[in-house]
């Protein structure tokens, strides 16, 4: 298990920074992809405005997070 763990985890500071940036982007992206699919399903289902509203709010929040993450990434690249 420990050998596997050492193979899985980022080793250098650069790898760790890359992994953290990717996680910051992938989490909201995962929410966006999943919520859009749920939204399509809920719209097909007809009169479920509460679920549609919930999906839209989650999509807006994920977009805001993604935008902020991209801006942070851009700022850090410029300062390097």
């Amino acid at each position: 298990m420990d050998e596997l763990r050492s193979r899985l985890e980022p080793r250098t500071p650069e790898q760790q920074a890359h992994a953290a940036r990717m996680h910051e982007l992938r989490s909201p992206l995962t929410v966006l992809v999943g919520r859009v699919q749920l939204l399509r399903r809920h719209l097909r289902g007809g009169n479920d405005s509460a679920r549609v509203q919930n999906d839209l709010e989650a999509i807006e929040a994920a977009l805001a997070r993604l935008t902020a993450a991209v801006e942070r990434l851009d700022s850090s690249q410029r300062s390097d």
């Binding site: 298990m1 763990r5 193979r7 899985l8 919520r35 399903r41 929040a61």
Partner: protein, 147 residues
């Protein structure tokens, strides 16, 4: 310490398998809760920060959806290790969701031997539900689902 959150959705067919979703992101946990409840499962959620094996044992989930973060913190790996070393949780099927595509694909064989099914992010929600259904069917072996 925060308690894990559990909700049961209505099902006309009696028994609902109990899924525990573990992640560090409330938005991802909310997504898992909604899509798995709509798929007919009883759903509990837990944050990695808790990392409380006793809580997991008390919940007695039929399956765990674990997010593996290839990042600086090792909470997800520690939890996977604890779940596989404890006799009372070693048999619980685990579906590992991860964006660490290259790293996990290289270890696919080893993870499958540990009874871990891998779903790569970003995933189609049907892929996740299909992977869970397959793992809850005893004759199905672990799989790796990719986009």
């Amino acid at each position: 310490m925060p308690r894990p959150s559990t909700e049961r959705s209505s099902s006309p067919n009696g028994y609902q398998p109990h899924i525990l979703a573990i992640n560090n992101d409330p938005a991802v946990l909310s997504l898992f809760r909604d899509l798995l409840q709509e798929a007919g499962y009883q759903v509990s959620t837990q944050n990695y920060i808790d990392r409380d094996l006793d809580q997991i044992k008390a919940l007695k989930p039929d399956l765990i959806v674990l997010d593996y973060m290839w990042a600086t913190e090792d909470a997800s790996w520690s939890l996977l290790q604890m779940l596989r070393m404890d006799p009372s949780t070693v048999a619980i099927p685990i579906v590992l969701c991860t964006g660490a595509v290259h790293e996990v694909k290289a270890l696919e064989e080893h993870l499958v031997s540990m009874g871990v099914t891998v779903v790569l992010k970003p995933f189609n929600i049907d892929q996740l539900v299909d992977a869970i259904r397959e793992r809850l069917t005893p004759e199905h072996p672990p799989i790796v689902a990719s986009t």
